[in-house]
């Protein structure tokens, strides 16, 4: 925006830029070296790389030590994040519509409930959820941790979708109902297309959030079969016998690439949610 600079017409903006650049330096250094270290080697005790190498990436085609290959783990992560996203979208889009438009008994109560759940720090329930999954036999399975993650993301989803439905003009629905369509047809054919940007934003957010999730899979499904990338990488780092920072970073880059791509392309969609108060 051109008008933005006029706000401080009396002052120069470079001192502010300089100050911010200095405090941002640690972050910039960390992220730069995070990528550089995966494809270079440097002499011990030196920070300047002296050779380009791809040996840190050999975990892609061969298993390291006694660790499983990375591909099943990546597949688990993909299945986990995709399924959670689908469940969150299905549940939030329907429940949000009900709370926005339909006159169900106890609607106010449900709305208040969603708000409280949204603010409530659900990770405090982890011990009880762990015990519940043990009792019903879903411990150490991907299904269990998918259901839990979807349930914990849901209050945010419902809240967000309700807000978007509220902005859809109700004339559209009135017209549909006047033409003899049922409430459900109206919802599916007329209202859902109107909130497509919201579904997009929520879907992206749910996917990224599950892709990055660490605590839930670590506690609820740490076993080899259900392992996801976050747990895999954490166990790699925690293993004192194979200390190799460049390998950790290479696995990290492999793990973070989908996140960065989605973020770069859909930053606008995501900003709404990050600004509106996501957990973290």
């Amino acid at each position: 925006m051109a008008t933005q600079t006029q706000v401080s017409a009396n002052f120069k903006s470079w001192p502010v830029i300089l100050a911010l650049a200095i405090v941002s330096l640690p972050l910039i250094v960390m992220y730069l070296y995070f990528f550089i270290d995966t494809i270079t080697d440097s002499a011990p005790g030196s920070l300047i790389p002296n050779a380009i190498t791809f040996r840190h990436w050999d975990f892609l085609w061969q298993a390291r030590g006694n660790r499983p290959s990375i591909w099943p783990v990546a597949l688990n992560t993909l299945v986990f994040a995709t399924t959670v996203t689908i469940i969150v979208l299905l549940v939030s889009s329907t429940a949000g519509y009900v709370l926005s438009r339909l006159n169900v008994p106890g609607r106010g109560f449900f709305l208040a409930g969603v708000m409280v759940l949204h603010a409530f720090p659900s990770v405090t329930l982890i011990v009880a959820i762990f015990l519940v999954l043990q009792m019903v036999g879903l411990y150490n399975s991907l299904i269990g941790v998918i259901l839990v993650k979807a349930a914990l993301e849901m209050p945010l989803g419902i809240w967000l979708m309700k807000g978007f439905y509220d902005t859809v003009p109700w004339e559209i629905e009135m017209a549909g109902i006047a033409d003899g369509a049922s409430r459900f047809t109206v919802f599916r054919r007329l209202v859902l297309p109107q909130v497509r940007p919201a579904l997009m934003a929520l879907g992206l957010f749910a996917f990224l959030s599950s892709w990055s999730e660490y605590i839930l899979p670590q506690v609820l499904a740490p076993g080899a079969k259900a392992q996801v990338l976050s747990v895999y990488l954490a166990s790699l780092i925690a293993d004192d016998n194979n200390f190799d920072l460049s390998l950790f970073k290479a696995v990290g880059v492999f793990y973070i690439i989908p996140v960065l791509i989605l973020f770069l392309f859909f930053q606008k969609h995501l900003m709404n949610i990050y600004g509106g108060g996501s957990k973290g």
Partner: protein, 434 residues
């Protein structure tokens, strides 16, 4: 009308099921389990009955039946079909087995008595064989697992141990390995010095991160990027959003690279002759600095976005007017921006307090509460008690009691926030009434 109502309930059902299963039931169970002594040792489903050295110790000391405990600790020998079959497969002389069969059902309280009987057999087994045979009939209750109290008492009867009803109850109670109801968890929480220390840590951590980063530094980022050309501001906002979108495991890995003894700080200072060390874990002060920075950098991004959008909502004319009047930038911040930031600040504070109280993933991944518990906070203590510790005995009961504290705080604060942020305005009537 009914169609709207039933459709509504139908569409709401999946959400309600998930809420009940993963919010309401866990909240209730957190409360219930906090009154038990559940742990890895007791198991989480019902327990079993097993007489062993520790249960006999209890039977003698706590229940006052030392004489009965002594009796139960003795092996006893029962001549039964199982033992005879075992003898056959062990290749013992057939005539000895036939002769043993005449003693079927006899019970010997000690090994010596059983072996005396075996030695008296006409087959005259050697001393080595006697031992071999007698071992097959050892039917001690010790270390046998019974699924129910009935099975245990049946086992007692089969041995021919005569007990009074009071003794029966004592044996059953002392040998029960499952969990029981107790209020010890709360007593322990109040009396252990560790909890007080963790409480102080938690308050310190939440307050510092909240004031310095989630509101203070976030406001600094929002204001500085506001006073920049739009694209430059956007770049800085993206940089400061990176910690939030980066998966926590990777984000903490970068900090470890910065702080480890082979990492950036050590190498950089190495140029000036400072010995390399693990800057994150070498002292509790350093550990706190890193914990606060790691969490603060993530936490600053939410406030930055909220404050930025609130800043853009302030009418530009107010800034123009102040510039005409010759206001300095500091005066603009002090008299125009900050007064209009009350609600965003309150919102971020409320929101982040709960989030800081409950989430422990970044501390777990970076310092794990160390060195020596210096950076252990309440939620991490819950994790270490109930879900993962070095000792290996996970105390679910005590862990849920610890997390109950956070659950109660969480529910209370969420309900208060509902009031503060004007719930009634949000519950407008649905648009279409049919």
């Amino acid at each position: 009308m009914n169609s709207s109502r039933s459709l509504g309930l139908m569409l709401l059902t999946p959400a309600i099921v998930l809420v009940v299963l993963f919010f309401l039931v866990p909240v209730a169970l957190t409360a219930v389990f906090s009154f038990t002594n559940m742990s890895t040792a007791t198991g989480i489903t019902g327990g079993a009955y097993q007489i062993g050295p520790s249960s006999l110790q209890r039977l003698g000391d706590s229940y006052g039946f030392p004489e009965l405990a002594e009796r139960l600790s003795q092996p006893s020998y029962v001549i039964d079909e199982r033992g005879l079959t075992a003898l056959e497969s062990a290749g013992v002389d057939a005539s000895a087995i036939t002769e043993m069969r005449t003693h079927l059902g006899e019970v010997f309280p000690t090994r010596r008595e059983a072996e005396r009987m075996i030695k008296g057999l006409d087959a005259r087994p050697s001393t080595r064989e006697v031992k071999q045979i007698s071992e097959q009939f050892n039917r001690s209750l010790l270390d046998t697992r019974y699924e129910s109290e009935g099975d245990l008492l049946a086992g007692l009867d089969a041995l021919g141990v005569e007990v009074t009803p009071a003794e029966r109850d004592a044996v059953a109670a002392s040998s029960y390995s499952g969990w029981t109801w107790t209020t010890d968890n709360f007593r322990r929480m109040v009396s252990t010095p560790d909890t007080l220390r963790t409480l102080i840590n938690t308050v310190f951590y939440v307050a510092i991160v909240l004031v310095l980063f989630n509101t203070g530094y976030a406001m600094f980022l929002a204001i500085t990027t506001y006073y920049m050309p739009e694209t430059t501001g956007g770049i800085f906002r993206s940089i400061w959003l990176l910690p939030r979108i980066t998966p926590p495991v990777i984000y903490v890995l970068m900090w470890k690279w910065l702080a480890w003894d082979t990492g950036f700080i050590s190498m950089f200072l190495g140029q000036f002759g400072v010995a390399p060390k693990n800057w994150m874990l070498d002292s509790s002060t350093n550990a706190w600095v890193f914990v606060i920075l790691i969490n603060g950098f993530v936490g600053a991004s939410m406030g930055m976005l909220v404050f930025s959008s609130a800043l853009r909502a302030i009418p530009k004319s107010q800034f123009y007017a102040s510039e005409v009047d010759g206001a300095s930038r500091w005066q603009q911040i002090r008299y125009i921006i900050l007064p209009q930031m009350r609600w965003p600040i309150l919102f971020v504070t409320c929101y982040q307090t709960l989030s800081l109280l409950a989430s422990f993933d970044l501390i777990l991944l970076s310092t794990e509460g160390g060195p020596g518990g210096a950076t252990e906070v309440w939620s991490l203590m819950t994790y270490h008690t109930a879900l993962n510790n070095y000792a290996g005995n996970l105390e679910y009961g005590y862990g849920t009691a610890l997390s109950l504290v956070l659950v109660v705080i969480g529910v209370t604060l969420s309900l208060i926030y509902l009031r503060v942020f004007n719930y009634n305005a949000l519950v407008a009537k649905p648009l279409i009434e049919q």
